[in-house]
Amino acid sequence: MWNVLKDIWFLFGRLFPYPTRPGLRRIGDPDRSSPVLVTGNFELTVRTVIETLERDGIDAWLLIAPSKGVNVWCAAGGGHFTTDSVVSIIKTTGVEKLVDHRRVILPQLSANGVNYWAVKERTGWKPRFGPAHIKDFAAYIRSGKQITEREHRHVSFDLPERLAMGTNLGFNVSLILALPLIIASFWVAGLWWKTIPILFMLSVLSTVLVFWLPGKIGVQKGLALGVLTAATYALVAQTALDVPPWSLVGWSAWILAVSAFVGYDMPSWSPLWRQDAKELILGVRTTHVAIIPERCINCHLCDIVCPVDVFAHNPETKKYEVANLDACEACGACIENCPTEAIVNNFREGVCACPTCLAIDGVSKLAGKSRKSRQPEPSSCTEGECGCD
């Protein structure tokens, strides 16, 4: 009963922290050689991790690090799931007395907050980044390999998750826009209670259909959905309902506008795209992650931590290169974990001086959108030290 209520809450309020007790949990029947893995203390995450591991018949020691009740990726990005959290959970649970080995598996998506080298130095344990999704953990651990298979490093945005994020998006934009809409209803009667269901429906549709809608991610896909929805509305209103023409035009235009807005907002609820005004409104890439070749020591970590496969190894130069810049969502995991500060992210600001770009840049600056990447201390390391095969 309680779990059902929680599940309903997670359909709408997943954005809000929901802490569970940090500490050590036994999964199955672990022994002194069982793997030790770490996660954050977000209730939904912990429950999913435990259920998945138990279903897959894994015996393991699970360390639940305090992440302020926030999921791993967001907490790592927001500074709540950091190297400090990992160091602290390893030390305070006394897990070293329970196992003979000193290997700890970190969630791959914690790499934007957790520094591999610092964990190693401060705990004496050998960290590994596991798969991006816990469903791939069984395959990873049974393969016996130290680094994850390429396909297990990718974040995915499957249909059930899209549905859940769609309802969350709908709930939260409705919450934010409720007051302005109610105020606007003094001039346009019934605007708020007609708009909220439209907003909610378009939120779910735009998220569920995101891969099938035409256009670039952002406003373009939103407009595409808007055209479809407005056309359906116009068709139904004209044939079945008796709607006056001016109202028909007005509501169709409103649906289009709402859909464009939802299309713009949706990417921040996905694991695949980042929230960037220029990118989502104009379709211009502003992220520019680059590797300084002289500094690359071929340690593989950037490739291992990247959840969208931006990097590729060049066998001739024996260095890593940026191969798929379009996929980069500037999560910062590679920058956090590069031991030689070889990776930089130059946001292309001010490349375009058209009025639209200037306006967007201005608004972004006003919103204080300054991203300061935390650079790790450079440390010396030899090739293959990260334990690659």
Partner: protein, 212 residues
């Protein structure tokens, strides 16, 4: 955009944090810090501050002539603390790594509204580790929200604390946690309580304990 709205709303800044702590303690936090510096720290003392935050207590203690080491895990806070208390040694270190600082080397270990930020496992670990860090006869000085054990006092505690916490969250998006069973944990870690002074009808307490 909607996620950005929430992020901005929940974003922590050192100034906002200090404001939050003032509201939730109705201004008592500043008075307690002055009391700690004047009443429990002597010139020449070697003092460790767990969770030094923006360095206001570290400053008071250095002004009193103590040799202060402050640790915290928040870089923005540490940056403010370095300016606020230039005479103190301020560093990024988790409370669970304090054994790196040595053994039996501090006269005082102080913590204001920071131990309650730790999880229960972390708290026990830190209490044991701090006992080893104190010189014989050294004192652990803790000011925090402590949940009382007797039922009537406990009900009063939540009655006062919930509205205050709600108000604080509305104004500054900050909150605190309260320590539970703190006296028992102190005992388990080998401490003997020397003095307990309640504030705000017992919702806040200054607990001084000695390494037994």
């Amino acid at each position: 955009m909607s996620t950005l709205v929430y992020m901005k709303l929940l974003e922590q800044t050192p100034a906002k944090y200090d404001r939050g702590m003032r509201v939730i303690t109705l201004g008592r936090v500043d008075r307690i810090k002055r009391e700690i510096a004047a009443g429990w720290v002597e010139p020449g003392h070697s003092v460790l501050e767990l969770g030094c935050g923006t360095g206001s207590l570290a400053r008071l203690m250095t002004e009193r002539g103590a040799d202060v080491t402050g640790i915290d895990i928040s870089e923005p806070m540490l940056a403010v603390a370095r300016d606020a208390a230039p005479a103190a040694t301020v560093m990024h270190l988790t409370a669970t790594e304090i054994e790196r600082l040595g053994e039996s080397c501090f006269d005082r270990i102080v913590a204001t509204l920071s131990l309650s930020e730790l999880s229960e496992d972390e708290l026990d670990y830190v209490l044991h580790a701090s006992a080893r860090l104190l010189k014989p006869g050294g004192l652990l000085v803790v000011a925090d929200e402590v949940v009382p054990i007797p039922l009537r006092q406990r009900m009063l505690f939540w009655l006062i604390r919930y509205p205050l916490a709600a108000l604080t969250f509305l104004l500054t998006q900050n909150t605190t946690h309260a320590l539970r069973g703190f006296e028992r944990r102190l005992e388990d870690a080998g401490y003997r309580t020397v003095s307990t002074k309640p504030y705000l009808l017992g919702t806040l307490a200054l607990i001084v304990s000695e390494r037994a």
